[in-house]
Symmetry: C2
Subunit: 388 residues, 2 copies
Amino acid sequence: MSDKVLDDISHRRYNPLTGNWILVSPHRSKRPWQGQQEAPFRGDLPEYDPKCYLCPGNQRAQGDQNPQYQNTFVFVNDYSAVKETQQDYNPSNSNDNDDLATHLLQAQPVTGRCYVLTFSPKHNLTLADMSPAEILPVIHTWTRIYASHLSLSHPLRSQADHALATIPPNPDGEATPPPQQLRYMQIFENKGAAMGCSNPHPHCQIWTTSILPDEPARELAQLAKYRREHGGKHMLEDYARLEMAKGERVVWQNEGFLVVCPWWATWPFEVLVIAKRHVRGLVELTEEERKQFAEAVGEVARRFDNLFETSFPYSSGIHQAPIDCSEEEAETSWFHMHFYPPLLRSATVRKFLVGYELMAEPQRDITPEQAAERLRKCGGELYRNLLN
Amino acid sequence: MSDKVLDDISHRRYNPLTGNWILVSPHRSKRPWQGQQEAPFRGDLPEYDPKCYLCPGNQRAQGDQNPQYQNTFVFVNDYSAVKETQQDYNPSNSNDNDDLATHLLQAQPVTGRCYVLTFSPKHNLTLADMSPAEILPVIHTWTRIYASHLSLSHPLRSQADHALATIPPNPDGEATPPPQQLRYMQIFENKGAAMGCSNPHPHCQIWTTSILPDEPARELAQLAKYRREHGGKHMLEDYARLEMAKGERVVWQNEGFLVVCPWWATWPFEVLVIAKRHVRGLVELTEEERKQFAEAVGEVARRFDNLFETSFPYSSGIHQAPIDCSEEEAETSWFHMHFYPPLLRSATVRKFLVGYELMAEPQRDITPEQAAERLRKCGGELYRNLLN
Ligand SMILES: O=P(O)(O)O[C@H]1O[C@H](CO)[C@@H](O)[C@H](O)[C@H]1O
Ligand SMILES: O=P(O)(O)O[C@H]1O[C@H](CO)[C@@H](O)[C@H](O)[C@H]1O
């Protein structure tokens, strides 16, 4: 393959999901590093921490007490970035309605609701430590929350009703949607201090807003453009098929999901989990596929940890159909999950996306093919379980 | 002003320079922080460090020896992200020339040259410690490098020749351009371990590439669109005038430059330095304006340090006309400098742009108006000089 030259030369790659380019400098990984070191992972957390606001039975910042939950537990973030109700803001009523300010000082009010969701009652677990059977309740909770927040006229409404009727509700409480219909739900996890996580107790966040944020909006526009320009075909279906045929960026797969280091990866060991069939949102997964998805998520987390024998930091997030959307937008959506991990060379040396990356263009030091090859070799038992 | 409501409610603001939105949650700064703490600043560096590869007289990684330089010193990065020559890559010659791969696996070769530029022979200084007269040689070096790399047919060629004829060359050596004409020059600084800087010796980098990177390309497109839609007027001229009239986001100004926390700031104390008249590139600054620019840069750096009484980390970068461009592109360009600092609440508590920010949309916790007000109060002597 003549693409082998890309292992040796500087080049940029196009991300068709966002329309952005990434500068790749494969030779640069030889550079010595004298800068900031991440704190090494200390695997000595207790199963229960009386000071953790996420552990069962403990009290939270605003006084609420957590139940003695069994699997997952969801609650409204005590410090939400958006709220359900707030003062009105109508920019056209302000006294800045001259032309200049209208264009240059644009603002929109945003309401919504932010949830925190714990993955397990055990303070010292991560997704990497959990079996697919233990991750399944997390997928169930994600699915029920997504389902219950879909608009009444949503194209996936009947699938949502089916999911709500067949996945048993969480005995420790459920997230009920706010009275006003919201537009978009972002499920994401910040894992590890390096990714701004302030509590090691395994958890993710779910921010639900009255607006469609930039990143999913950009992806939807790019996905729609691809369909228009390729006779209605889906970009991520074509892409998954292409990667399965080539193999060099594939990390792992099962019947329902493909795990690749995408061609356009920005973060050193960035990974994309793609549904193999046209799943538009969580509510379309069958129970079998939910198990396969739990397996895929666990596989990614465990391979990350095995790579540098540490608890690998990352931010991850699910992109799927907005919770309020048109037939067309739902049809354009293709269920996938991003993992953006910062570590580059070891448990303590990360990649910084800073000066050049912020001012000019993201830059990476190893190719996605090299990253995929290393992650392919990291399967099997979690390294921690093999020690002593 | 009815915009005061924006101090209390969640909203998003539009960045007309990039076309992106930012979620603002003013109430969220009350949130307690139990996560990663930045290492506190230790002001005990020596003026000369025998192990620093940037100090005068020392040897660098690949064996070259630095001269006993007096002000600034420039050299080609020993671990450049791009190189002048490399193997050819012609994607159309690859065996992936089927339609799918052509669209989904796009790559372009990138050549260029990366420089490192020290600001001072003294290991323990930063721009905040330097007077405008000491920063002026940095501006001179930036200007000469930019001038010498402009294409022969560049719209600013005669200004470049004038700058090269009137600014004295650096006696410690100059950056001479590579034989092939390059497209774009990004001057940027990563300051502080939190921003991936691996050596505290004051320095910046200058990456010069055969391609126009995404971020300046996006800005140029947005600036051009504004001109088209506003009868040829310049966005940043209109914006600077609007901010000067309003005042609430202005941090500081002199005759030539305005320093504001932009309406659309993403980083907590993000600052934008805007030329007040239509300067398209460094070579158009008069000596008087170069002094004013040195003063503005010093002012920003010192105010940052005074804010939390620490050596404030940031990434900064200059956006101006590409080094090879059309009359139209040059005319569209408007000289400005961004400062992206991560600290949020103290010398050790930063903002993380992670999960939600990467998956959905950047989010900030204080308003740019609140940030500007605090930076306005941080003028005067550098706090370190007032201790003991
Ligand atoms: O060349 P440096 O300063 O060692 O490297 C730093 O800046 C570069 C350009 O922003 C980044 O790509 C690196 O990740 C960062 O560590
Ligand atoms: O709510 P948390 O986990 O404390 O906060 C973390 O995630 C948020 C969403 O990505 C970010 O805005 C914060 O900067 C980060 O520290």
